[in-house]
Symmetry: C2
């Protein structure tokens, strides 16, 4: 099997590759060739080095998509994107990368199939940002996509294209609407959603973290481990069970900040909790207030996608996967 990962240097891409390295058959077959692509050259895990080729390619440049598809990969993960804040700040870049780049990939697949039959599976990383407030208490699978960011718009358009290209038989497509990934490894970042991870990750390492919103704020979470599980499951799922509505809200955990903090106390004690400093930020409160709080992802659950049931589990996964099972101090 030939596998192509676009966006392989990002957090989800790297964790997906670690998972493939650890369980080589997780994608449903032996991997003969693995092409890893990102705007900066990605790195292959050592266990995959013999089959991997790593390339620095911007999908939105002329001919880039066709060059990647010429090798006829059987399975493609499209994880690459300009993130929400950047797509909002730079309108043209967001559309070029998130829409034109993705569409170029779909077109390259369609055109490759015109010379000889070709129908790869394409697993696309979408986002709950395709939805826009106001929301019902729990958002169902059939709620409409009215994004309130350019990033969400670009993801929603890609979902529509993916479904149409799949319906026409050019590819087998499935779109994964990711919850907010938590606990995000690495350093605190400036993303408006960053604090949801910061207030867990930093105290677990004995460091202070700033909480800019009220404890009552509710949000929708998944661990990095489960997020990777969405992609491996999507790679092997019988798509005849999915049908034409192929862009799915993924399972997740709805939790308030207070519930996050209570879970941190249970797992790491009150000393960790005391490292959270409350600094209300009306701008961030405003942004976060327009985000989805809870979902009823019936279809994904029926299709076998799984996520965490409580926030303690999300914290323990972080401790296992990022901290070698040890809490710092």
């Amino acid at each position: 099997m030939k596998v192509l990962v676009i966006g392989a240097a990002g957090m989800v891409g790297r964790k997906l590759l670690e998972q493939v390295a650890a369980s080589p058959d997780v994608l449903g077959g032996d991997i003969d060739a693995l092409t890893l692509v990102d705007v900066i050259e990605p790195t292959a895990p050592e266990a995959l080095a013999s089959v991997a080729s790593c390339k620095a390619i911007d999908l939105s440049t002329d001919g880039a998509a066709a060059s990647l598809i010429a090798g006829r990969p059987d399975l493609i993960f499209h994880l690459a994107a300009v993130v929400s804040g950047e797509a909002e700040a730079d309108f043209e870049k967001g559309y070029r990368v998130n829409l034109d780049g993705g569409r170029a990939l779909l077109e390259a697949i369609r055109q490759e199939g015109q010379s000889a039959p070709y129908r790869p599976r394409l697993v696309f990383a979408s986002s709950v940002a395709v939805l826009g407030a106001p929301f019902p208490e729990k958002i169902g699978d059939e709620f409409f996509a009215t994004p309130l960011t350019s990033y969400g718009t670009q993801k929603a358009i890609m979902e529509l294209l993916l479904a149409d290209y799949a319906r026409r038989g050019f590819l087998d497509g499935i779109g994964i609407r990711l919850p907010t990934i938590c606990v995000r490894p690495g350093k605190p970042n400036a993303a408006a959603s960053g604090f949801f991870s910061n207030i867990i990750r930093e105290p677990l390492s004995g460091k202070e973290a700033v909480l800019p919103v009220d404890d009552s704020v509710r949000h929708w979470f998944v661990s990095p481990r489960s997020a990777v599980g969405f992609f491996t499951h999507a790679a092997t799922l019988d798509l005849s069970k999915v049908g034409p509505r192929c862009n799915l809200i993924m399972p997740g955990l709805s939790a308030t900040v207070a519930e996050q903090i209570a879970a941190l106390e249970t797992v790491a004690g009150s000393k960790a909790v005391s490292l959270i400093r409350r600094e209300p930020d009306p701008v961030i409160e405003g942004i976060v207030g327009s985000w989805a709080r809870d979902f009823d992802p019936k279809r994904a659950l029926e299709l076998g996608f799984t996520a965490e049931d409580d926030f303690e589990e999300i914290i323990r996964i972080h401790i296992d996967d990022e901290l070698d099972g040890k809490i710092g101090a």
Copy 2:
């Protein structure tokens, strides 16, 4: 006021222009310049000839959109589209005209606004084809767009782009999801939906019409007169009342074929009804079976859009507007 109508040679475009000619202030101001565009050169109604310029332009060709927007129209109607059947038969043409052409228009507007402030109103003809079966009994405003045709996909993508360009302040946008227009004037056509109009229009002129589906088939209708009313209302509506969810399901009438025929009998007698010949066509029954049957278009009704309450009214409008008030025989 400068007005641009793209798709001015189509049925809705021509009827819109007739309405503007009859009530010059229906668009909310005096018209100083009226540019009419289509792939074939449109004709201006005589009353508008002094301000009109008519052009044969394909919006999807390089530079076409920019040339139209260079005149800085205040109000733009974008009605042009490759129709459903053709967009399905010719994948590339459908995307080129319905998506790339429309996006070029949005981009031309955005770029025109970069030299000096410019924020026209853009009224976009969308379609209930953005939705895809299975449907609830009545489809609400918040039901998701999962089109089952490339045409519906292209319209859904344009809706998303329109909303994002409006949100970013590049234009004032509103999308009109049209019901099936009935009674369509002109000759019987090969469209799968054609019979809904044929079985009324032809008998009213003493001609036979073929009914390929069962009398129990239910569908969602609006008269050409009300459809034009949607566009003139959208041209003058206070868009602050519409907000970011600017693509609206329009009001219409849900009626079965049996109800259509009963209305024909009331208006034109049993002789007209006897001209309907039943010739079941499983292919057409299959296509029509996947179409929406009924809606609950709360938002459009609250915003003052109106349509017919019963099918007799739809027939009488056809007799008034197309047959000079007289039923043939």
